[in-house]
């Protein structure tokens, strides 16, 4: 069995596929909104050096990633151990050497990786225009505006992804998440923009 099929199998027997999907969207959304907030914060503040902006945003992205990784691992590890204990009592046997034992060890790690990498990777995509500008690439729009555009696009795509899962029209679902981002931006401007 390939590594991917093995991962799928372990997620299936623990019925955690939905949890992985939920964590991906929830924490990915967290990452995108945090980056959007930080970049708008820089836009409404006194002009800062692009390297400073990158450092601040990257630090926040790493912190989000580590937070997602550790919190999901700790909570899912406890959940899986509890589920295995319950199953062992029902089976009246030790399941450590079975697929269920493997799942108890590997599924928390898989979920933690998704939970940690989702905000980190999404944040890195949002920061890409700033990096490019810093590397000397000429962008058609200012780098912070380009980063905001990428953030809004990714938030829209997360909505589209949710729409496909729930069976709601992708456009409606995408616009719904986009509205949340626009509201966030409006609130930031309201409270910080002088």
């Amino acid at each position: 069995m390939s590594l991917l099929n093995q991962a799928r199998f372990l997620l299936d027997i623990t019925r955690t596929r939905e949890i992985v999907r939920r964590y991906f969207v929830v924490n990915g959304f967290d990452g995108a909104l945090t980056m959007l907030g930080l970049i708008i914060g820089f836009l409404v503040s006194a002009p800062a050096d692009l390297s400073v902006i990158i450092n601040v945003c990257l630090a926040a992205a790493i912190a989000l990633g580590m937070s997602g990784l550790s919190s999901a691992y700790i909570s899912e590890s406890a959940e899986r151990k509890h589920a295995l204990g319950k199953l062992e009592r029902a089976m009246i046997s030790d399941l450590q050497g079975s697929a269920h034992g493997d799942a108890t060890r590997w599924v928390p790690l898989l979920i933690a990786l998704v939970n940690g990498l989702a905000p980190l990777v999404i944040s890195l995509f949002i920061l890409l225009p700033i990096w490019l500008a810093l590397a000397g690439v000429v962008l058609p729009v200012p780098p912070l505006h380009a980063a905001i555009f990428v953030a809004l696009l990714l938030i829209f795509l997360l909505g589209v992804f949710l729409g496909r899962i729930s069976g709601v029209t992708w456009l409606r679902s995408g616009i719904q998440t986009l509205l949340v981002a626009v509201m966030t931006a409006a609130l930031i401007y309201l409270f910080t923009g002088n």
Binding site: I13, T14, R15, L87, A90, M91, S93, A99, H100
Partner: protein, 89 residues
Amino acid sequence: MVNVKRIVLDVLKPHQPNALEFSQAIAEAGVDYRINLIVLEMDENTETVQIELEGKAIDFEAIQSAITDMGGSLHSIDEVEVQNETDAG
């Protein structure tokens, strides 16, 4: 050589992997294995299944290992069919 041709097992298994995945995992233990799985009883966390397995030469150790790997527990061997295929000449 005496070969096991058919075997009927009584197995207690968790709901997951499901009957299909469970049968497939057992069938993978041999190239010509044919499995017939019947769910006899079901409760909150487990199910009792009857597995009928046919093949030219069933490797019981491999079958038992596949069942254990899937989290199952072999309760009893209910039927066995063996054949002596030693060349008389």
